[in-house]
Symmetry: C2
Subunit: 251 residues, 2 copies
DNA sequence: GCGATCAGCGGCACG
DNA sequence: CGTGCCGTTGATCGC
């Protein structure tokens, strides 16, 4: 395909905000928050109506190079190469694909008003848990969810029957070290503001060994949350408190 | 385009591991770690040679639905619709695009052995900093970088001239609360193992106000790292310790 | 606009 | 394989 012709196809797509795909041999250069260079090879470049720019190889899920929406797309033919460029400010970034050969450059109008409906998100689980705190422990009563702290927000904030504050961190997947550190930060924040002792609980479908050690050292609790994702909606099937053998002997 | 013809194009692309793009009107359903549904609309579906599967709308950088590599791609025509499906195990997941109309279905062989060369990564900055610890403080000597801890790894581990342990966390972008909590975890881990006091330092191009408060409460230090990314390589241009006005008066 | 957090995070490197 | 963590993280929501 003639580069001149390809350039016109790109320009037309950009001005009409159509979905554009260019397939050909190119080199790619990125300068901005970082710097990257990709030597010549055959790739697919996609430019979307909102200025999103993607360079895809024929492997891996993610684009090897990209530019987020709102970029300004420019084209030029230089030195017998078609340059397609996406620039943006804040941060100042430029992504440039330089084609030595274009196999195809085509654009499509795409009518699509629909957005994704997703179930099984952490927010959904958090809301469900709020209505089911008795499953964790008798007398546990919800105070607030998404409780805003000066530093971050607590998934579920509750109070037990001895009126201790309880901070619950919900994770939709196996909890790791970061989950426990996060919980710790919230607990300490609440502890500082209240006179009473504060308990920390993680509700997740699992926890890594390291995270479990750390959790126990900090005196926090882990509840294994068994849930199922339906369409629409989800369901918490069970919650069982998990203690380790060791702790049973220690206690 | 005939759906039967589109199906053949997809099958051929999959068997030959070519880069496939299908443009048309479809509904999308995902079941696995979560569940999602996307009502009918015009989209671009991409299937790569390694089984990666992407559904792109004409907006946003990321695919609205996807399936990671190694998925098994199957097709069928059912109820006058072309179904393209990507399934995988561990976790068990299925992504399905059901086309009522296909505008185009084409595949391309893509020769590309090249991989990205990236500069300005955290690892690069960490290595540079290792050779420049004097810029932070006279007498600060590097011990190890990427020092593996039982819980995570320390970017740069050093010792000051009073032989205190110093844990340095490097961030390539502005440090937030999570950076400070991470640092805190490392410092406490080292503290537990050593008798001497342990200092915690964050080196980043900036820090958020909340994170700065938290950092000071914990007695940690922040060094503003001014760096430039070149091609190839990067350069740390300067490091200045930042104290807040308030602290100056307090001290 | 920045700040904090989630994500079906993905990807990588290491044990 | 799981664990941990970076990422040009992106996307979202709250301030």
């Amino acid at each position: 395909m003639e580069l001149q012709e390809a350039k016109q196809a790109v320009d037309k797509a950009v001005s009409s905000e159509e979905f554009l795909i260019v397939i050909g041999t190119c080199r790619v250069k990125y300068t901005g928050r970082a710097v990257s260079k990709l030597a010549e090879g055959e790739r697919a470049v996609i430019v979307k109506g909102d200025g999103s720019f993607l360079v895809h190889q024929n492997k891996n899920l993610k684009a090897i190079n990209y530019q987020p929406p709102d970029g300004v797309i420019t084209t030029e033919i230089n030195d017998d190469q078609l340059v397609v460029r996406a620039s943006r400010r804040n941060p100042e970034e430029v992504l440039e694909a330089k084609f030595s050969e274009v196999k195809e450059a085509k654009s499509f109008d795409m009518d699509d008003d629909n957005s994704l409906k997703m179930f099984g998100t952490e927010e959904e689980l958090s809301n469900l848990l709020m209505q089911d705190l008795e499953h964790i422990e008798k007398g546990l009563r919800p105070i607030k969810n998404e409780s805003p702290l000066s530093k971050g927000k607590i998934d579920v904030f509750a109070r037990d029957k001895e009126r201790n504050n309880v901070v619950i961190e919900v994770k939709r997947r196996k909890a790791g070290l970061d989950a426990v550190t996060q919980l710790k930060r919230y607990v300490e924040e609440v502890d500082k503001r209240k006179e009473k002792n504060t308990r920390g609980i993680i509700c997740a479908p699992g926890i890594t060994p390291n995270a479990c050690d750390f959790l126990e050292e900090e005196g926090f609790e882990f509840y294994e949350m068994d849930y199922e994702v339906h369409n629409p909606g989800s369901e918490i099937k069970g919650l069982k408190g998990k203690q380790r053998m060791l702790k049973d002997f220690d206690g």
